[in-house]
Symmetry: C2
Subunit: 390 residues, 2 copies
C-alpha cells in the first residue's frame, strides 16, 4: 500500500518508526512525526483505520499474524504500538530477527496481562488493590468474603474500555463467566476500592533510562470509559509527588521505554494502582495543546532514545472531554457552533464512523479557572455528540 | 498516486482541502488537518516533495498545467495554495468550473504581482515605500534621482527569498536586466527604505468577513531570506495596534480569505508595507507552539469558513530560527545535542534534501526572557546546520 517513492525520499537519515495498530493513538503520533521529520509507518487491520487515513506508509495485516508483523517490521528502525494486542511471543521472535521493539516485550507484558502486572507490582512494593486469581466459584467466594463484596472481576488479557470487566455482588453472579474458562485459565479478582477520584500519571522513559513525568491528572470514567481528564488534578503537591513517584518507580522497575500511563485510585490511605498502558493514552490527550511536549512527541522521542522534552503545562488548567458517538453521525456539523461559541476550544476528530459509545474525537480547553475550563470542554463534546443543541 | 480507499473512508462529512504545491507550508498544514479531521490533498511537482512525503492523497502535476489543476480540483471542496505560482487566469477558469478557490484569484493576484499590489495599496491609502514601474534606463534614472540611490528593483511576478530582487546604486547597474524585458514588461522600482527593523503581521480572514490578527512580530532577514522571527516585536502597544490596523485594512480591502502575511518596514514615520503573502508564512511558524491557534489551523478554518481560533500567545516570548542548509547533510544527527541541551526546543524538519542556503527546517523556543529565548532558537538552528559544534 506504500505510494511509490515514499520512504526513500528527502533526508534519508531520519528514522522509520513502525506502529502496530492504526487507531487514533497512531493517528495522533503523525503530527509529531511530521514535525520531527520522523517517518511513520502503520500496520492497520483495515486501510480505512483512523491512522491509515492520514499516513502514506500503510501495511494492512493482522497483529496476530507473525508473517505480517515480520513484513511490516522490515525497514523499520523501531517498532512500537497503538494497542496491547500483539502476542508477546511474536514480539520476542521479532527481537530475535533483530527488530528493535519498544517497549520491550518483557515490559509490555505487564500492560498486556493484568495478572502478570499485579504480581510484579507486589514485588516492586507498589500499592495496589487486594487481588487474587480465581478459577472457580469457591475461590471467588472466599476472596469476596475476605475483602468484601462487590468484587471486580477482570479477564487478565484483552479487556479495554470497560470490556472484559464485571462488578459482581456475589460469586454466584460470576458462575457463567467462570464456567467458560479453559483449563488453567483464571480471572483476576480485585477488591472494589472506595476511591475519592481516579488519577493518572504519564511517564516517558527512554532506553538509556531518562524519565520525564507529567503533572498528575484526574480522570473521570463512566462505565469503564474515560470521559474527561482534568489537568492538574486538584490534590496537594505532596500527594501529587507521591503519585508521580509511584509511576516513576513502575517505569523504572519494568524497564518501560516510551510512554507509560499509570491509572490510579485515590483513597484516604493514598494511591492504589489500577491499570497500566505502555503507549500514549487517553489520559494524556490534553498534552497536545496543554503541555510543552505532547505525549505523542514524547513517545517518539523516548522510543528513538532521544532526550525527552519539557512536560510543563501551557496553561494553569487544561480539560479534555472525549467525544463519544451519539445521536449525530456528521461530526463536522457541530464545528460551526463549537468554534464560534469558544474560539479557544481545540477539536480533534479521528476519522472514525460514528457508533454509539465509540470514542470518535475529543475537545481540549485551556485557561485560568478549572471549573470554567471543564465546562467549556464538556460543552463542546456534548454539542458535537448531539446531547445539547445550544 | 492515491492509495486505494483513502478519501472515501471514515466520517465522510468532513471536507477535502486541496493544496496546490507540496512544500513545507503544505506539509505543516497536515498536522492541523489531521487534528480537525479535514482531508488534505496536495498537488506536488514531485512525489518526493516535502508535503507529499506525509500526506496520503497526492497528485503529481505542474501548477501551470490547467488540465492537471482541473484533475486535482475534482472532488476538492476548497482549493488553496502553498505558493503564489498558479497563473491567475487558470484560477479564474477553475472558478468557472465551480471550484471554490481561496483566496479568490482577485485577491491572490496582489500577492502574485507586486505592481498590482502597489497600485492597490495606493488606492487603499496604505503606507508604502515610493515606487514606480520602469521599463527603460532613463525611467529608472529619473526615479532614483527623485527618491535617492540605491533603489530596490524587483520583478513584479515570481520572485521569492531574495530571488528576482536587486539593489542598484545607479540606473547603469540595471541596464542588463532592463534589456531582457519583453515588450510592455516593466520592473518595479522602489525607494530603499531606511528602517529600524522589519515587522510582520499575520491576519486570518474568512469568506463571511471574520478576521483575526496575531501579535506583531519582528523578522530578521539576511540576503532576502528570513532567518529569525521574534514574537512579540519589541514595539509600543500603540505602534503594534497601528501595524495590525494596516494589516486588517489590507485583508478587508483585498477580500482575502485564509492567512495573509504583511511584511513591513518599521521607520521613524511609521510602518511601510513591503510584501504580501496569502497563505501561511515563514513569519508565522512560531504560532505552531507559540499561539493558541497555529497559522496552519487558522488557514484551514478561514478557507473552510469556520469561525477563527484564538491568536493569543502561549508564552511571553517566542523565537523561531530557520535552519538553512549548511555543512551538515544529516539533519537528524544534531537532534541528540539540541534536545539534551534544551528540553524546551521544538524542532521542525521538512524532509528536504540539504542544499546550501535552502530552508530545511526551523527551531522554536518559548519563555519569559526575550534575549534568552532568541539565543536558544539560534543555538539550535546553528547547531543543526553545522555552524557551531557545542
Amino acid at each position: 500500500m506504500l505510494r511509490p517513492g515514499v520512504g526513500i525520499v528527502g533526508d534519508v537519515s531520519f528514522p522509520v518508526v513502525g506502529v502496530v495498530g492504526a487507531g487514533q493513538l497512531a493517528r495522533m503520533m503523525a503530527p509529531a512525526a511530521i514535525a520531527l521529520g520522523v517517518r511513520l509507518r502503520v500496520l492497520a487491520r483495515d486501510g480505512a483505520d483512523s491512522a491509515a487515513q492520514v499516513v502514506p506508509d500503510v501495511d494492512v495485516g493482522d497483529e496476530g499474524d507473525l508473517e505480517a508483523l515480520r513484513r511490516f517490521a522490515k525497514g523499520c528502525d523501531v517498532l512500537t504500538f497503538d494497542h496491547e494486542h500483539v502476542p508477546t511471543d511474536h514480539l520476542r521472535l521479532l527481537q530475535r530477527d533483530g527488530v528493535v521493539v519498544r517497549p520491550d516485550p518483557d515490559a509490555l507484558v505487564h500492560a498486556q496481562d493484568k495478572s502478570v502486572m499485579r504480581a510484579r507490582m507486589a514485588e516492586l512494593g507498589v500499592p495496589c488493590p487486594r487481588w487474587e486469581l480465581v478459577g472457580a466459584v469457591e475461590e471467588l467466594d472466599a476472596f469476596g468474603t475476605d475483602v468484601g463484596w462487590p468484587v471486580v472481576l477482570k479477564t487478565p488479557r484483552g479487556g479495554y474500555d470497560g470490556k472484559g470487566v464485571r462488578v459482581v455482588g456475589s460469586a454466584d453472579e460470576a458462575r457463567d463467566w467462570l464456567r467458560t474458562l479453559g483449563p488453567g485459565e483464571r480471572l483476576l479478582a480485585e477488591e472494589r476500592v472506595r476511591f475519592g477520584r481516579e488519577l493518572a500519571v504519564l511517564v516517558a522513559r527512554s532506553p538509556h533510562g531518562q524519565a520525564a513525568v507529567y503533572p498528575v491528572v484526574q480522570t473521570v470514567q463512566v462505565d469503564g470509559i474515560c470521559r474527561e481528564v482534568l489537568a492538574p488534578a486538584a490534590i496537594s503537591e505532596a500527594h501529587a509527588l507521591s503519585a508521580q513517584a509511584v509511576a516513576l518507580r513502575i517505569a523504572d522497575g519494568l524497564g518501560v521505554t516510551g510512554m507509560l500511563a499509570v491509572e490510579m485510585f485515590d483513597t484516604d490511605a493514598g494511591v492504589l494502582v489500577n491499570e497500566l498502558a505502555m503507549r500514549p493514552h487517553n489520559s494524556g490527550h490534553w498534552t497536545i495543546e496543554g503541555a510543552r511536549t505532547s505525549q505523542f512527541e514524547q513517545h517518539l522521542r523516548a522510543i528513538l532514545d532521544l532526550p525527552l522534552g519539557e512536560t510543563t503545562m501551557t496553561a494553569a488548567h487544561v480539560a479534555m472531554s472525549n467525544v463519544l458517538g451519539g445521536a449525530i453521525e456528521d461530526m463536522y456539523a457541530g464545528y460551526l457552533h463549537c468554534m464560534a461559541h469558544d474560539p479557544g476550544v481545540h477539536l480533534h476528530m479521528y476519522g472514525k464512523v460514528v457508533r454509539p459509545g465509540r470514542k470518535v474525537g475529543h475537545a481540549t480547553t485551556l485557561g485560568e479557572d478549572a471549573e470554567d475550563v471543564r465546562a467549556r470542554a464538556r460543552h463542546a463534546a456534548a454539542f458535537l455528540r448531539g446531547d445539547i443543541h445550544e
